[in-house]
Symmetry: C2
């Protein structure tokens, strides 16, 4: 399936994303102007809209680059593996949090991403798929720990991971509290050890 017609200038994609990233980091989502990106990149607006149908799509493409690669490790110590994984997620969140706002603790680009997913069905579907993939990796990690007897046989893996990942997002987007390795350790401890009194 060879593409027909004039091929796209791939250098444009790279240049535009770089310029848009600089603008978002400097002025936030609201300060990102399509006209200005086009001008600085030396291309027409139509060229931008051929690649990203809305400003949201462009912003999502930019912000997606800030997210961590989320490589998961399985050392056989579920506690350490979970802390490491959560820390990676937290690092991506902190990078996104820095973008989209100049001052103060805020959701920054994370919030814009969620809003974009809510506004555009295709972005929503895409992000849900990406998170489903990540979820599957984490659930598999938990399942392996369960099988080898490190975790309870009757655990609820989905609830367990939702709790830990959710707490990170909740703090970044809602309460504005910091997320770092120390907090990841607190989360894993609380989730694994439980909170009922010992009998």
């Amino acid at each position: 399936m060879v593409p027909r017609g004039r091929p796209r200038d791939m250098e444009v994609d790279e240049r535009v994303l770089r310029i848009a990233a600089a603008l978002i980091l400097e002025r936030g989502y609201t300060g990102l102007s399509i006209d200005e990106v086009a001008e600085q990149a030396g291309v027409a607006k139509t060229t931008l809209y051929r690649r990203w149908p809305t400003k949201d799509h462009l912003a999502v493409a930019v912000v997606a680059r800030l997210q961590a690669d989320d490589e998961i490790t399985d050392t056989g110590d579920i506690r350490a593996d979970l802390v490491n994984y959560l820390e990676k997620i937290a690092a991506g969140l902190n990078r996104m949090r820095a973008a989209g706002h100049r001052q103060g603790p805020s959701a920054g680009a994370v919030g814009e991403l969620v809003a974009a997913a809510a506004r555009h069905e295709d972005i929503g579907r895409l992000t849900r798929e990406q998170y489903a993939e990540r979820n599957a990796l984490a659930l598999a990690l938990i399942e392996r720990a369960r099988v080898r007897g490190e975790l309870r046989a009757d655990l609820d893996a989905e609830a367990l991971f939702d709790q830990m990942a959710g707490a990170l997002y909740y703090r970044v987007m809602i309460t504005g509290a910091p997320v770092d390795r120390a907090y990841a350790e607190r989360l894993v401890s609380s989730a694994l050890e439980g909170n009922l009194t010992c009998h």
Copy 2:
């Protein structure tokens, strides 16, 4: 301190919020037009902007009405109290999720709220304060259960509540999975009972 000058027409606030709510529920945030709200409400745009400085502020005011009152109960059974509280939060989230989007599972108005908090420092401060209040209530509930011996003496109350509330928001905003009473029960079970194998 008697207010000077011509008093505001309070009926305008009510009428505008009602009309804006109808538009948001019908067409979503993007489909909400200040011009149209002003026209339908029979007021000038300047009258709207005197009350809500941006479209985001108006939308937040509308959506805030959808949130639950979050009354907390303390029956002495921490498990039941937490499930009830999480269910109330989930109900508010589901109401907000329905708004802001016509079809498909999506964050809806929740995402717009987070984005608005990220874009406007005053909205962000306000929502963080509201959530801090709610957090304080939940932490007090947990603390009372700890003191009466229902929960571990060395628990991390902040992590515990972040986990449960965060999981709800994570599902609504990120994965699009449903949140209901059954899920609230799974969350509380997982968080309270822990996930390590019993020794």
